[in-house]
Amino acid sequence: MSAVIEGKGGFRAWLNKRLPVDQFVADQLTGYYAPKNFNIWYFFGSLALLMFVMQIVTGIFVTMHFKPGDLTAWDSVQRMVREVPYMWLIQPMHAVGASFFFIVVYLHMARAFLYGSYKSPREVLWVIGMLIYFALMAEAFMGYVLPFGNMSYWGAQVIINIFGTIPGIGPDLVEWIRGDYGIGDATLTRFFSLHVIALPFVIALLVALHLVALRQVGSNNPDGIEIKEKLGPDGKPLDGIPFHPYYTLKDIVGVGIFLTLFAIVVFFVPTFGGLFMEGPNFEPANPVSTPEHIAPVWYFTPYYAILRAIPNQRIGALLMALAVMAFLFLPWLDRARNKSMRYRGLASKLLLGMFFVSFLVLMWLGMKPADPLYVILARICTALYFAFFILLPFVSKADGNGPVPERVTYHAD
């Protein structure tokens, strides 16, 4: 794949002798062949990377003015937004950015479900991606606690107490996480450290590994067939095109559309009707005033709904953990020969549709109060959620082996 760069003099040659810039571009961008039939679902990987960079950059500025601590955190956020030039823009970008990050990550994951992108030889790619997702959840949770609004406080209370259901070590573990008998100064300072240093480093490392693994196995595509198996006389995949300039330019269009939507939300509806920034979080943390409904932000609510659906707290917490972990086993639960849903039977499509619907309904239920009717609905959806993982090995084995096309389907416009 690598092209030898030669015949150039001057600074560039001097630099390339010492740092393989051109070699890197040739290997990773112009010499990296991606399937030409990517559709809309293939924008969300690059958009997730964009959101990661944006959160880091806006986060740097928020960190400059934020003062962790139970007495200072909330005031410092209000002050920076009101008195530091342009922080009225940067701080909401950071807060709304968390929600947009999860939107693209969920869509990116949904793509893997649709086209079997987690299947062999991409199991490790998928597992690294899931580790990013887990780290991101921890990162988002701690970031949500830091401004120390009332929902920060009570949300943290609920989520940290989940660890208390672990038999034996639970109560001690909760105290160890909080660093105190309640959520307070010690909790905020450690969450700050983890949020701005530890987890961003972990995520950056995992993202790098995710990309290395992607370059190793190559991208999947909507047809789920390997382009490496059909090489032209020049040794390049017949259905592949160089990542640069084709996909860099295409991804920039995706970035444009995405940033337009992002800007509309940040500038005109930053709280997004209480979905991206919740009303109770505009009140400072108050240990004696519980918000009417405690609910985590929307991207955690599917799991929260599962937790609440089970009367026994310990089993609820266990199921919640299982619901998150189950993703890790997907490559081995899916036993179909074909990757893409396009070439699987109706049963597979219905099963996946059922999973998507149950996930979205659980998401909605997690934001609602735990009325009896909602709890019943949450139990049904929890059952459907796990039914997907239990039935997948059988359904995929039975109807995922139909004929697939020789070459990818692509229509030039």
């Binding site: 337009t260 800007a263 109770p280 929307w298």
Partner: protein, 257 residues
């Protein structure tokens, strides 16, 4: 391809819109009204600031708002700011902090009056509007003689009684199914009746409250107007950027067969 992009963008926008709407729809009781305030209405904001300083700031602080910022945003000239806005003994760079001592406040009302810097963001404009218009005479309330429909049992006295007067609430009894299915007699609010008359007509009072709510919405998010003004240009730029990058992409992709 362009139709595909457009349809996906539209679907995404629709999804966002649906989320916003579903998150917004609170249950409104029959008597509750919308504040209907216009954040872009400068005279209304100025009147609201005047109302706040006259009736609210004795007890309630806006501890994140400086007199200076207020005057700047509400286009109040410096001389008027120093003459009317900034109380004696304070500087124009000070925050609008009430001079009521916390301990005495707790003795008088049971708890200190809350800071109102962000009340419009935590409760919403409609909530404040309904709170300020739904005080009614309630002899059962020993402390203040009034009660409130929006926040029953509120510790706040009817500070605006001199302008609104004190209205009476009319209730009717209704049987509603209880938790065990058996009907329970419940007192249901029907309407307000004029009681003690204030200096304003109900229509004038609504306007008075609307201006005050408008002001509190501004205080909760003072950059809203500036943000939306800049936002239009940012979105226009991004649309142009998207259009140009799409044309560039199309040009390159011509070769892909």
């Amino acid at each position: 391809m362009p139709t595909k992009f457009a349809s996906v963008a539209a679907a995404f926008a629709l999804l966002l819109g649906a989320g916003a709407v579903s998150a917004n729809e609170g249950e409104h009781a029959g008597w509750q009204r919308e504040a209907d305030n216009e954040i872009g209405n400068l005279p209304s904001l100025q009147r609201g600031a005047r109302n706040f300083l006259a009736y609210c700031s004795g007890c309630h602080s806006l501890r994140f708002m400086r007199y200076q910022r207020l005057a700047q945003d509400l286009k109040i000239p410096d001389d008027q700011r120093d003459q009317f806005l900034v109380p004696a003994g304070k500087k124009f760079t000070d925050y609008l902090v009430s001079s009521m001592p916390g301990k005495e406040a707790t003795d008088w009302f049971g708890k200190p009056p809350p800071d109102l810097s962000l009340v419009a963001r935590s409760r919403g404009s409609d909530w404040i509007f309904n709170f300020l218009t739904s005080f009614y005479a309630d002899p059962a309330s020993r402390q203040t003689g009034v009660n409130n429909l929006q926040l029953p049992g509120t510790a706040m006295p009817h500070v605006l009684a001199s302008v609104q007067g004190v209205q009476n609430a009319v209730w009717r009894n209704e049987e509603q199914p209880g938790p065990d299915g058996k009907p329970i007699a419940t007192r249901v609010f029907e309407k307000f009746e004029p009681g003690v008359v204030g200096s304003m007509t109900p229509g004038q009072y609504d306007e008075f409250v609307r201006d005050t709510v408008n002001f509190l919405q501004y205080v909760g998010d003072p950059t809203q107007l500036e943000r939306e003004g800049l936002g239009i240009w940012v979105v226009l730029f991004l649309l142009m950027f998207t259009g140009i990058s799409y044309m560039l992409k199309k040009e390159y992709w011509k070769d892909v067969r």
